[in-house]
Symmetry: none
Subunit: 234 residues, 2 copies
Amino acid sequence: TSEIAKLDPTDYVGFTFFVGCMAMMAASAFFFLSLSQFDKKWRTSVLVSGLITFIAAVHYFYMRDYWTSFQESPTFFRYVDWVLTVPLMCVEFYLILKVVGATKTLLWKMIIFSLIMLVTGYFGEAVFPGQAALWGFISGLAYFYIVYEIWLGSAKKLATTAGGDILKSHKILCWFVLVGWAIYPLGYMLGTDGWYTSILGSGSVDVAYNIADAINKIGFGLVIYALAVKSQKA
Amino acid sequence: TSEIAKLDPTDYVGFTFFVGCMAMMAASAFFFLSLSQFDKKWRTSVLVSGLITFIAAVHYFYMRDYWTSFQESPTFFRYVDWVLTVPLMCVEFYLILKVVGATKTLLWKMIIFSLIMLVTGYFGEAVFPGQAALWGFISGLAYFYIVYEIWLGSAKKLATTAGGDILKSHKILCWFVLVGWAIYPLGYMLGTDGWYTSILGSGSVDVAYNIADAINKIGFGLVIYALAVKSQKA
Ligand SMILES: CC1=C(/C=C/C(C)=C/C=C/C(C)=C/C=O)C(C)(C)CCC1
Ligand SMILES: CC1=C(/C=C/C(C)=C/C=C/C(C)=C/C=O)C(C)(C)CCC1
């Protein structure tokens, strides 16, 4: 048997897995190799951006192979990835607001809510698909708490205190969470049997998740990167 | 046959192996890539933190695959990992106390007792499971000697002499050893046949060990990292 699989040219889901995998690898190389150009204060944030895409790159390798082998959603690996990368995105919010006094309490609150969001989402998607609506609802509540915290809660206040480029970047990241992250619950609904699978076919959930991941992981990291570049000049 | 395994979505033990594996990889990347920001005095400590998580990352790869293939505790690899990482954690205690005159004798004493703890623990867990209580008891004695040494013995005295951030970090590390390490003997008891396996099912020992490893290896490393960051500023 050969090492490399023969792919169907119309396997668009597989195509996005391959593109996603390499995009994450390239983004990691970009973030890691640019580290030395920043001063210490910003290096940690850019390093964490790199960790997020690096973790994703590894899981995209698994997911890509899983998809090519079984033509099935690699939900397990998807959530292993998210359980690590979403908390790290909370760390990014914390890191850029640390200069104006963000507390560990804020960080832990965001991490805990993001874990609630993911664990309940996993239950609805993989363990109790019959109760997808219920689990999705609980997950959504936790998601909205995070949205609230950064748009209107204490994270917002800290960003306003900081002002300038930090405030601007915080705002962009807030939009990522409100719009970019909202693709995931859409994907979840597309993937729930009997909701829309008849219209779009299975696999559409993966296309949605793959696009969302590229936007959120790489885009999010680039916002941090741009902030670091700007602060360097000032 | 395919390279990638099909995982049962309710295989939570497997889930913690996958998360653990990637968390250790990411932590290693974090410690290694942050090295250049520290001055020489602190670089060795952070480097050792990275070695601990890196060694763990490799063994988590083995353990993960072992678990997916056999649905059995990878006790062999577990102890191969510990036999390397636990002595390195003793080295961390030594390194931060070296500035105030920690001796190699202290280091060797801690290493030897940690090896006694692990070798006897391995006998009880893998070689003579019928005498799990006896071997666990001897292992526990060695464990308590280490606890004594850092909480009340000569390591404690050195930390007090050092004072300041070093004392504070030493104290946090002491708590890791007293509380975080205590999860391992709990896991040992959960895994011993006929003690609690009937209640929790096998595999629970691995969940306990995986959580403990994440706390102790990554958390421990982050304490050292934070100490290095603080000393940098001062
Ligand atoms: C609200 C909601 C969900 C939200 C998921 C999100 C918001 C995931 C974000 C992932 C990110 C940002 C990964 C990139 O690094 C689920 C779990 C699909 C379940 C349905 C309800
Ligand atoms: C006391 C005791 C044990 C203690 C194990 C410990 C304390 C392991 C620590 C491992 C670490 C810290 C690894 C992380 O790097 C055993 C061997 C389970 C056997 C039962 C009695």
